[in-house]
């Protein structure tokens, strides 16, 4: 059997909505196979993964905690990918955001004022921006491929953080553990409820709303889409590709930085060598599953946050590895990309054994 694509004359609006759902369904089906192959009852496995975490109040809050960085980063990455800028180093920008913001609670820990927290957040955003500015500069100035540079900087950022918490920023009273001092109350992002949900969630919701309006209604949003789809037409419209590279990288870097400082200040309360279970990479999946649309990113962020929670739950209940989560996430992105084909193409199957059409009537 041979597979052939037939181009649709226009994007299928129905498929644009169906494709992510189809991808989720396929992931669930393959997930069931995965559980079966691990010797786990598939239904039990899927329940533990995707339903159980939604049944308790505390875990709903936990869901928000995990979704917050994913949504913040995912929104920024959506702008990048819509404008055809391949920033895949959000993990590094997240890390540097956390590092920059933590200058206050760790170095200037004696400064406690109502301004400390805002200053931390601003520094977090600036840190992410600064780290994203490097690939943006190299791309606009020298034409260097941003995919590789942004990714390489992830490793550099992680090693930098590692050095800080094992070296100059190590807690002097921390028994030599590679951790920073604990943050004082003035530098901790306030909680919103009894659980661990914090102000970062509010930031995420505001960002989603602002970005949704920007992308759908503003000239900037139009510019982003035009330059991403047809750079030549963008130039013809009078838009600058270079400025868009800067815009996309600074915006996504800033949002990743905000996510980083919010995570450290709201969830962890100190700096440790590893501050993220790969949020910066998972957010890539969030962006694509959300169809590069802020509202979609919000929903996709919740789903992928669920996969983290489910992974933890399944580890406890079923004894599966927490790595299963990442398999799920990877599969999901694969299926999303495959299903997106249906938006632009119809798929036809042809039997390979059929004679070529030229001789059919002979």
């Amino acid at each position: 059997m041979r597979l052939e694509l037939e181009k649709r004359s226009e994007h299928s609006k129905a498929m644009a909505i169906l494709s992510p759902l189809l991808a989720i369904a396929l992931t669930v089906i393959f997930g069931a196979f995965l559980f079966a192959s691990l010797g786990i009852n598939p239904l039990k496995g899927l329940y533990a993964y995707f339903i159980e975490p939604l049944t308790a109040g505390w875990s709903l809050e936990e869901l928000a905690v995990k979704a917050t960085p994913l949504v913040l980063i995912g929104c920024g990455l959506s702008v990048c990918y819509l404008s055809n800028n391949w920033n895949i180093g959000a993990e590094g920008q997240f890390t540097m955001g956390a590092v920059f913001g933590c200058v206050f609670p760790i170095v200037f820990y004696e400064w406690e004022s109502p301004l400390t927290l805002p200053a931390m957040l601003i520094f977090g955003i600036l840190g992410g921006m600064a780290w994203a500015a490097i690939p943006a500069f190299l791309k606009t100035r020298f034409g260097t491929n941003e995919i590789l540079t942004s990714l390489m900087l992830v490793y550099v950022a992680q090693l930098f953080l590692d050095w800080l918490v094992r070296g100059p920023w190590r807690d002097p009273d921390g028994f030599n553990f590679p951790e920073s001092r604990l943050f004082s109350d003035a530098t901790i992002l306030p909680n919103l409820a009894e659980g661990r949900m914090h102000w970062g969630t509010i930031f995420a919701i505001v960002v989603v709303l602002v970005m949704a309006v920007m992308l759908a209604k503003s000239l900037k949003g139009f510019e982003i889409r035009v330059l991403g789809q047809a750079p030549r037409a963008g130039r013809f419209a009078g838009f600058s590709q270079k400025r868009m590279v800067w815009f996309a990288f600074l915006l996504s870097g800033g949002l990743a930085g905000l996510a980083g400082i919010s995570e450290v200040s709201g969830t962890v309360g100190q700096l440790t060598p590893v501050i993220s279970p790969g949020y910066g990479f998972t957010a890539i999946i969030v962006a694509f599953l959300g169809r590069l649309n802020p509202i979609g990113v919000l929903l996709a962020g919740l789903l992928l946050a669920l996969s983290y929670l489910g992974g933890e739950a399944a580890q406890v209940q079923l004894g599966t590895s927490d790595k299963t989560t990442r398999v799920f996430q990877g599969m999901l992105l694969f299926f999303v990309l495959a299903c997106d084909t249906l938006i632009l193409y119809r798929i036809r199957f042809r039997r390979a054994s059929a004679p070529a059409a030229g001789g059919r009537s002979a």
């Binding site: 990918y81 391949w86 590789l148 490793y155 070296g167």
Partner: protein, 306 residues
């Protein structure tokens, strides 16, 4: 063994996985496909190689398992990008994320398990020569293979008709299709070749470089291999040069530490990544050179009309 000898030996060991992965990706990109999933194929190759050797007790079986694992991952990528015409950049990322997840899951059982070391293929007489003996004739099979692949790929691309077709497909898929070449089939085979090479590169890591399974043990080498292809401006000999250069940078950090140079180890570990960025910048500064050498159809989608 002298100090210099030891350093040179470790450079070869550090360069081989980069060389294997990059030479495969070179062929893939020459055919017009950008597979950013090298890191993913490599790490799955690493875990499969370890598992294969662990299960059978044979490193040969391990190497084969690594190769097959790389090919399977590449097939997945090829099906999506070539048959379903998905975005190559995004699909490559997906392959890496999936590969990292899968390898972590499969490898959980092997953490801390003792590994097996790929045997050195000593050539009697030659291996005993001073200095060059162990360097040139005391290596394991994958080191020899990596060097042989450089020559093979040069021959394939520039001397054989297959190579002419590969370059043609990468330069202009519409023309190649109009002349009757199956663009998708040519590209699929190249992608599989790239997968095999990346799988072997991973296998080398878990069977020779550090003969055990460590989660995430590729540590960005797949990405560095991708950068090497750009650095080499798509030429096989320059890939070899680049790989050994990077091998040297990697090794430098260990020896610098051994000499007690007072630089934090993290900064030294960051060297290969920073070097990658620097090298990419140097190469891309010469825009005419990169533009003239880049396969014109790189990462462009192709849907044949019938």
């Amino acid at each position: 063994m002298s100090e210099a000898e030891a350093i040179l030996l470790t450079i070869i060991t550090a360069a081989t996985p980069l060389l294997l992965a990059a030479i495969g990706e070179l062929v893939v990109e020459r055919s017009g496909v950008l597979n950013l999933g090298v890191e993913g194929m490599m790490i799955v190759g690493a875990v499969a190689g370890f598992a294969g050797a662990h299960a059978t007790g044979s490193t040969t079986a391990g190497v084969l398992a690594a190769l097959v694992a790389g090919v399977v991952m590449a097939a997945l990528f090829g099906f999506l990008t070539l048959q379903l015409v998905t975005n190559q950049v995004a699909t490559g990322l997906a392959l890496t994320l999936l590969g990292l997840g899968l390898s972590g899951m499969i490898g959980e059982a092997f953490i801390g398990e003792p590994g097996q070391d790929l045997p050195q293929l000593a050539i009697p007489g030659l291996s005993d020569l001073p200095l060059i003996g162990p360097l040139l004739f005391g290596q394991d099979a994958l080191v020899y293979l990596s060097v042989a692949l450089v020559f093979f790929v040069s021959w394939l691309l520039f001397k054989s008709r297959y190579g002419l077709i590969i370059r043609a497909v990468g330069n202009n898929h519409t023309s190649a299709h109009a002349l009757g070449y199956s663009v998708i089939r040519v590209r699929f085979l190249c992608v599989l070749f790239g997968g095999a090479c990346a799988g072997l590169a991973g296998g080398y890591l878990s069977l020779a470089y550090t003969p055990q399974w460590i989660e995430g043990m590729t540590a960005g080498r797949g990405w560095i291999a991708l950068a090497l292809v750009v650095f080499a401006s798509w030429r096989p000999q320059r890939i070899a040069l680049g790989a050994y250069l990077f091998g040297a940078v990697t090794i430098l950090q260990f020896h610098a530490q051994a000499y007690g140079i007072a630089i934090p180890s993290q900064f030294l570990s960051a060297l290969p990544y920073i070097a990658t960025v620097v090298v990419l910048v140097i190469i891309s500064r010469n825009r005419d050179l990169t533009r003239a050498n880049t396969p014109a159809c790189l990462a462009q989608p192709f849907v044949p009309d019938r």
